[in-house]
Every structure is written in structure tokens, then in C-alpha cells.
């Protein structure tokens, strides 16, 4: 008898466990194309999780529409959407950079972004096709250790391929951030120059996982400098400064590839059965309230829409002398190929 009770409770426990797991993920897991609550959308999110979570919470508070996030990196989720095709469970795709948006756009998977959403974002921060829109922006910087590199900073991103920079700079080549910078280089200087630069980089660079980790290494004096985006520094300064107090930022300016400003993108999937809710989300993100999250929040990314100015602590976008790059021209598959060829991936 004891055995039977043991067996029964075991079965009960197992059933409960399976139900728990199923319950946890029920909302977004199942095929998604037709089922799922009407007032809930799934966002494939390659933006910083904390930023998108802020957007999602504010959006839910305003509209009652729940937002489920699937987190990943730009190119991972972009390629995943292409592989999923019209069966994708995603309604909205958000990225940190634009190459992955172009990837999905070229696969014909995006619906047109509604006019009233586009109207909120100036032309230079979105592709002319109107298949997706910019939602935020970030500037490339050279972060350096103040004690190690006082006055011999690189004039151009291209300088970093010189043997003089061997073991003196760091990057996170597996990240979409860095790959977007390479795609800008590719667009501005062409394939040969990019290939050559990557070969020099492979010789010189020390690789870390993540831009924050690069900055931490620079701060600790493990390495003199690193190529990252601007807001890691501002974010850390706003907190304890523990990972950035020894770090200063160098802006390349002069329309150098290293002055590249990367546009974060947002788009609605054609296959989504919740077009309305998805467009609403995009409208919210690029609208006043969404952009104020950027202005006053902890992400320190640049605002691009609804006339909301950037956080006053940031160097204004207009002063960065960024090179002119059409976000729709940035090519991620070719970049990964070149980086794989160079031995960086």
C-alpha cells in the first residue's frame, strides 16, 4: 500500500510539474500564429532587455496589451525570423542596430509601418522603404583608460589595424553592435578595405564578450582602449561608476567610420495576426512617452522621434559629425562572412 501511495504522489508531482512548465510558457510558446490571447503580443527583442522591458511595462499600463519578450541578439533573431518565415510567432521585432532589420526586410517579412508611426521619426533615422523605423540611436566611441592613453588616441577607426595597436585595443566581435560598425565600414570604404582592416584587427584585438565587459577591462587597466558604443559609459557613471571611473570617451567625428551612429530598428511582421496591437506598440515606442523613456531612463541611448531631445548629459547627435549611411544599405550576412573569414567568429 505504501508503494502505491508513493507512486501516486510521484505521478501527481510529475503532472503538477508538467502543468507548471506548460503554464509558464503557454502564453507565447504555442505556434502563436493563430492562438494566444488577442490582447497580447510577442516581441522578438534584440534591444537591451531592461530598456524594452521598460517600454513594454509602460505600454501595457497604457493599453492593457501584454507584451511577451523573446530575447536574443540582432542577427540571431533576424535570421531566426527568416527561418521561421510566415509561421513566425513574432509580432514585432526590435533590434539594437539596423543590419538585422534589413535582413528581415529583404526576406519580405515586414508589413508596412503605419504612416502615423513613420511621421513621428525624421527621415534620416529610418529606411526610405518604410518597412521598419528607427526607434533609438547609439554612437560608436573609442573608450580608453585615462592613465594608459593620455594623448595618443587613434585619429580614425582605420588606425586600429596598424601593428602599433597590437594588444592595445579590445572589442566584442560576436556582438551585433560591433558587427553594425563593421557593416558601416563596409558601406563606406568597400569590401577590400574592410577585409584588410579585419585582418589587422584579428592581429591586434583582444576579444571580450559584450561591450560592458570591454569597458570593464579598459577600466581595470587590462587593456588601454576598446571600441564600444557611448551609453555603456553613461549608464555606469549614472550608477556607481565602478566600471568606468578610469575610462574616458573619444569620439572620432570627421565623418570617420568610427563616428558611425547606429540606428536601432523596430518593425511589424507581415505574418502577425495582431497587426493593430503591433503597430500600436511601435507607435508607442517612437511616440513621446516611449522616447521619454530614452530621455529620462537609464539606457542613455539617443532619442530619434517625436521631437523629444536626448538626455542632456549626452554629446548632442548633431555634434558627432557622423558619416552619412543609409541604414537600409547595411548588410549583415556579408559582414558575418567577412568576419568569419578573418577568424574573428
Amino acid at each position: 500500500m505504501r508503494m502505491r501511495i508513493g507512486l501516486m504522489s510521484g505521478v501527481a508531482l510529475a503532472t503538477a510539474a508538467v502543468l507548471t512548465v506548460a503554464g509558464c510558457s503557454d502564453s507565447g510558446s504555442d505556434n502563436g500564429t493563430d492562438s494566444g490571447a488577442a490582447n497580447q503580443i510577442t516581441v522578438y527583442n534584440a534591444q537591451h532587455e531592461s530598456l524594452t522591458q521598460e517600454w513594454a511595462d509602460a505600454f501595457t499600463a497604457e493599453t492593457g496589451i501584454e507584451v511577451e519578450l523573446r530575447n536574443g541578439s540582432d542577427t540571431e533573431l533576424g535570421n531566426q525570423l527568416v527561418a521561421e518565415g510566415d509561421q513566425s510567432p513574432a509580432d514585432v521585432f526590435l533590434t539594437e542596430n539596423s543590419p538585422a532589420m534589413t535582413l528581415v526586410e529583404n526576406a519580405g517579412l515586414f508589413a508596412d509601418v503605419h504612416r502615423d508611426v513613420l511621421d513621428q521619426v525624421p527621415g534620416q533615422y529610418r529606411p526610405s522603404s518604410g518597412k521598419w523605423t528607427g526607434i533609438a540611436a547609439r554612437s560608436t566611441v573609442f573608450a580608453y583608460n585615462k592613465d594608459m592613453l593620455p594623448d595618443q588616441l587613434p585619429k580614425s577607426l582605420l588606425d586600429l589595424q596598424d601593428p602599433a595597436w597590437k594588444d592595445r585595443w579590445a572589442a566584442s566581435p560576436s556582438g551585433a553592435d560591433f558587427q553594425a560598425i563593421v557593416s558601416a565600414l563596409l558601406e563606406l570604404k568597400g569590401e577590400d578595405a574592410t577585409r584588410q582592416w579585419l585582418a589587422g584587427m584579428k592581429e591586434n584585438v583582444r576579444t571580450y564578450k559584450g561591450n560592458g565587459t570591454v569597458m570593464k577591462a579598459v577600466n581595470a587597466g587590462e587593456i588601454p582602449g576598446g571600441v564600444i558604443y557611448h551609453y555603456y559609459w553613461f549608464g555606469d557613471q549614472a550608477k556607481t561608476g565602478e566600471n568606468s571611473n578610469n575610462v574616458a570617451l573619444h569620439y572620432f567625428k570627421n565623418e570617420d567610420p568610427g563616428a558611425f551612429v547606429s540606428v536601432s530598428g523596430g518593425g511589424v511582421l507581415q505574418s502577425s495576426t495582431k497587426q493593430d496591437a503591433a503597430q500600436q506598440f511601435l507607435k508607442f515606442v517612437t511616440g513621446q512617452k516611449g522616447q521619454e523613456v530614452l530621455q529620462t531612463g537609464t539606457s542613455f541611448e539617443y532619442t530619434v522621434g517625436s521631437g523629444v531631445p536626448a538626455n542632456p548629459k549626452l554629446v548632442p547627435l548633431a555634434e558627432l559629425q557622423a558619416p552619412q549611411v543609409d541604414p537600409a544599405k547595411l548588410n549583415s550576412p556579408q559582414v558575418t562572412e567577412l568576419m568569419t573569414e578573418a577568424g574573428l567568429l
Partner: protein
């Protein structure tokens, strides 16, 4: 050693036929476990030689190969030496507190390798490269040698050593010529486990910037979702795993190690260390435990203190805990259930068919989580779309990865339940089914529980497969820990590290105590 074949003598003369449904079930499980291997092979062939060779014969692959091979070649011997030495000290000497040390030495298994790495990076920020990899891997995985070595030492018949000594062999020679050879199975098995873990580990090596095939495959996955380059790297990784399996089976050899015949081994008389060696031994054991358990615990506690109450976001913590428990329990139950037909056939119907089944599951589950996950993503997105991103696929992934953990224990449990008892129950009037449930299943229950506990432990500490396969919205403890620590929010990650360790402790203890029973089989 005495000759004789107890196994055949015990086997019933009229051999019952193998139940057909059971055989079918076993074949299905084995076939499913070949999905990852098949995926890599099919993709490699589909890629075509030109593309494949361009991706395989490039400097980056050479770099990864040298890193990965060096890691295995350096770490495994260190783990073997540390594991065997520690086992010998706690089992065969009068080191003060031997019983406590015996348990403590298994505890590092409760600390996920990526938590260990996170702690060490906090303590020594510049830790990196091969040296860092070897340090972290050794501290995380030496118990995989220690546990079977200790269990074997405890059961070794001291009579053999005594005979050798009586024949004039010195103590060192006895150790190396008599004891170590008898530990060969434990060492080979432990070393194989360590090496497979080394090949599969992701998080621990990312923290210290040490690139292996697994970290590179993950990077490729993040750059292209599921590109050819990732598959080619996975192919090389699979070859490395298969090579290890072959090496292990050669080292294991075909010699018999079991004590045959009646009676049980006496416990060996422990050696006196004396006042000269005791402090050295205590220092050695102390440093080993401090490095493998002390550093992570102190580091996690330190981050918890720095983070204060702000890092305990109770909603997120509770939800991650519930999801982890759910995945762990469901995964453990499913894995034990699907392992059962194979275990049953291998004990009750040993032969070529059962060897084929076991070999099959063993080969495919030696593949790292990242390869299994890549395969399941591709298969489910293309052919089983309704299952894509569902809990079912995650659980299937866990079952494929952890099948041997359940299998080894189930087999041991079933072997301890002799057919004779079941037959006796039947002759006393029970139906075959109820005789099976009330006698055999009951006797096998503790071993099954141990197998389940091991699978659970594996799931709690699993990272790569969970990251790739989990349904949208899933946040397990290891995913949360990874996400926060990747954003260098070390304080925010600490609660998750703590819960993972606490959750793994009882499972580690089960593993430790169960090892005593399993070692003799």
C-alpha cells in the same frame, strides 16, 4: 581471482521472450537520440565539400582545435590525480575528519561551472586563457573522478593488497601496481565524463575569454541563428566527442574487475598519517575545498551583501525558481520513463540487441547541449512546426542529453531486483504485472530516484540548450543568471547563483550516497 560465472547461473533457464511494445519503445528512444548526430551529418553532406572545407580548414578552426584539445589534455590528468588522491586520502587514511572531507569533496558538483567562473573572475579579474580554463574546469569537475574512485576504493578487497605486501612489495608499489589498476574503470569513466563536460561547457569559458568549439558555435549561432559555419564547427565537436568515447573504451579494456563468488570485501585498515603528514594532507584538502567551494560561496555572498535587498526582485526570482523546478522535475520524470525500456532490456534480455541500444543512447547523449539544441531547433522549425518553441522540445532536449544518467541508475536498480523474487511473487498468486509493480519496481525505486535526481541536477545547471530551445517568456535560474552577469550586473546575478547552488546540494548528496551502491556493479 576465482573463476566461475555467477551471472549465467542466476539467469532463469527458460528465457521469457522480449515484450514487443517494450522493444519498439526502446528503438524509438534510441532513434530519437540519433537526431543530433544525424542532423550534423546530413547538414555537412548538404553543405558540399567546397564550402565545408573552406569553413573547416581555416586558421580559426585550428585555433579552436588547439585550445580545446589542450584544455582536455591538461585538465583531465590533473582531475584524475586530484580525484584519486583525494579519494585515497579520505577512504584509506586516518586523516582527521575523513567523513566530513568525503562529503565536502563532492560538493563542488553543486556549484555550476559558470558560477564558479563568475566567482573567480570577481576575485582575479585578469584570469583568462588556457590557464584560467584549466583552473576553473579542474575545480568544477574533479569530483567526477573523485566520487567513483572513492566508491571503488571503499569496496576493493584489501586481501589483494595484503597478499602483495606479504609477497614483499613496498607500499608505493602496492598503490601503483595493485590499487590503481583496480581503479581503472572508475578513472576511465570519470575522465570520460570530465572530458565530455569540457567539450560541452560554455558559460564558464566565456567569462574568462577562453574560446573552445562550444563557445565559438554559440557565437556563430548568435551571428547567424543557424548558419553553415556553426554546423561545421558542431561537426568537428562531434568528432572530438566520438574520439573520446573510443579512447575510453580502449582504456577500459576487457579485463574483469568484479569480485566473483560469495562473501563481501572487508573494509581496508586505514593507513596512519602520523603527525608529519597529517598537516600536509589537511592543507591539501583544505586548499582544494577552499578553491572549489569557498571561492564561489564567498563571492556570491559578497555580491549579495553589496547588492543588498535591491537585488532580490522577488517576482522574477520566484518565477525563475518555479520554472526551473518545473523543467527539472518534468525533465527528470520523462527521462526516467524513456530510459526504462532500455534499462529493462539490458538487464533482463542482455545480448546484442541490448548492447546496440545502450551504445546508441550513449553515443548521442555524449554530444554537447549546443549541438543537440541546434539540431532540435532545425528539426522542429522545419518538420515539426507545431512543436517549435514548445516545452515539449525543451524536455526532449533534456531527455536526450541526460538519458545515460537515468539509464546507469535504472540498470543498477533493476539488477538489484532479481527475477527470482518476481517469479516467487507470481507463484504466490500475483499477476505478472502486479508482481512487477509490487516487487521489482519497488526495489528499483531508490535507484530510479537517484537517476532522476541526477537528471534534475543536470537540468538546473544547463545553459546553452535552454537558451536555444526555451519557449518565449521562459526565464530559468540559469538564464536569469546568465542574462544579468552578461550585462556585468554581478550583484543582480548573485541571488540566482545562490539558489542554483542550494537547489543542487541535496541532489549532489544523493549522487554521492548512491555512488556507493552503483560502484560494485
Amino acid at each position: 581471482m576465482r573463476s566461475g560465472d555467477a551471472a549465467t547461473a542466476r539467469r532463469p533457464t527458460a528465457r521469457p521472450h522480449l515484450p514487443f511494445p517494450l522493444a519498439v519503445a526502446a528503438v524509438i528512444v534510441v532513434a530519437a537520440s540519433f537526431i543530433p548526430l544525424g542532423y550534423v551529418m546530413v547538414q555537412s553532406i548538404a553543405t558540399g565539400w567546397d564550402t565545408a572545407s573552406a569553413l573547416l580548414f581555416r586558421p580559426r578552426v585550428r585555433e579552436l582545435l588547439s585550445n580545446t584539445v589542450l584544455l582536455v589534455v591538461v585538465t583531465v590528468p590533473i582531475c584524475v590525480v586530484l580525484g584519486v588522491l583525494a579519494a585515497w586520502l579520505v577512504e584509506r587514511t586516518r586523516v582527521p575528519g575523513a567523513k566530513v572531507w568525503a562529503v565536502l569533496l563532492a560538493v563542488p558538483l553543486a556549484v555550476p561551472a559558470f558560477v564558479n567562473s563568475y566567482s573567480w573572475v570577481t576575485a582575479i579579474p585578469s584570469l583568462g586563457g588556457l590557464r584560467g580554463g584549466v583552473l576553473i574546469a579542474t575545480l568544477s569537475y574533479f569530483p567526477l573522478v573523485y566520487i567513483p574512485a572513492a566508491a571503488t576504493l571503499r569496496r576493493l578487497d584489501p586481501a589483494v593488497e595484503e597478499s602483495a605486501r606479504a609477497l614483499g612489495v613496498g607500499p608505493w608499489a602496492v598503490f601503483f601496481r595493485v590499487v590503481v589498476p583496480q581503479l581503472r574503470l572508475a578513472i576511465a569513466g570519470g575522465a570520460l565524463l570530465v572530458s565530455l563536460h569540457l567539450l560541452a561547457e560554455y558559460g564558464a569559458f566565456v567569462f574568462i575569454r577562453f574560446d573552445t568549439f562550444t563557445t565559438a558555435i554559440f557565437e556563430q549561432y548568435q551571428s547567424t541563428f543557424n548558419g553553415t559555419a556553426a554546423t561545421m564547427l558542431a561537426g568537428v565537436l562531434v568528432l572530438l566527442c566520438l574520439t573520446l568515447l573510443v579512447i575510453e573504451s580502449v582504456v577500459r579494456g576487457s579485463a574483469r574487475y568484479a569480485r566473483i563468488g560469495s562473501g563481501a570485501a572487508r573494509r581496508a585498515v586505514p593507513a596512519e598519517l602520523g603527525w608529519r603528514y597529517s598537516p600536509i594532507v589537511l592543507l591539501f584538502l583544505g586548499v582544494l575545498i577552499a578553491a572549489s567551494v569557498g571561492v564561489p560561496v564567498v563571492s556570491v555572498v559578497r555580491w549579495l551583501v553589496i547588492g543588498g535587498s535591491a537585488v532580490w526582485e522577488w517576482d522574477a526570482v520566484a518565477s525563475a525558481l518555479v520554472q526551473t523546478l518545473g523543467f527539472g522535475i518534468a525533465g527528470a520524470v520523462v527521462t526516467c520513463v524513456v530510459a526504462f525500456p532500455i534499462a529493462w532490456i539490458s538487464i533482463r534480455h542482455p545480448g546484442r540487441f541490448s548492447r546496440f541500444l545502450e551504445g546508441g543512447t550513449y553515443i548521442s547523449s555524449s554530444l554537447p547541449g549546443i549541438v543537440v539544441a541546434l539540431a532540435l531547433v532545425t528539426v522542429s522549425i522545419r518538420y515539426l512546426h507545431p512543436l517549435y518553441q514548445s516545452v515539449a522540445v525543451v524536455i526532449a532536449g533534456y531527455a536526450l542529453l541526460f538519458l545515460p544518467r537515468a539509464l546507469v541508475n535504472l540498470r543498477a536498480g533493476l539488477a538489484q531486483a532479481p527475477v527470482g523474487l518476481e517469479e516467487a511473487a507470481q507463484s504466490l498468486g500475483l499477476s505478472p504485472l502486479s508482481a512487477f509493480v509490487r516487487v521489482t519496481l519497488r526495489l528499483a525505486a531508490p535507484a530510479t530516484a537517484a537517476g532522476g535526481a541526477l537528471v534534475f541536477l543536470g537540468i538546473v545547471n544547463e545553459l546553452t540548450a535552454t537558451l536555444l530551445l526555451a519557449p518565449t517568456g521562459t526565464r530559468t535560474l540559469s538564464m536569469q543568471f546568465w542574462s544579468l552577469s552578461s550585462e556585468i550586473d554581478y550583484a543582480g546575478a548573485a541571488p540566482y547563483a545562490l539558489i542554483m547552488i542550494v537547489l543542487s546540494l541535496p541532489m549532489t548528496y544523493v549522487l554521492f550516497s548512491q555512488s556507493k551502491k552503483v560502484a560494485g556493479l
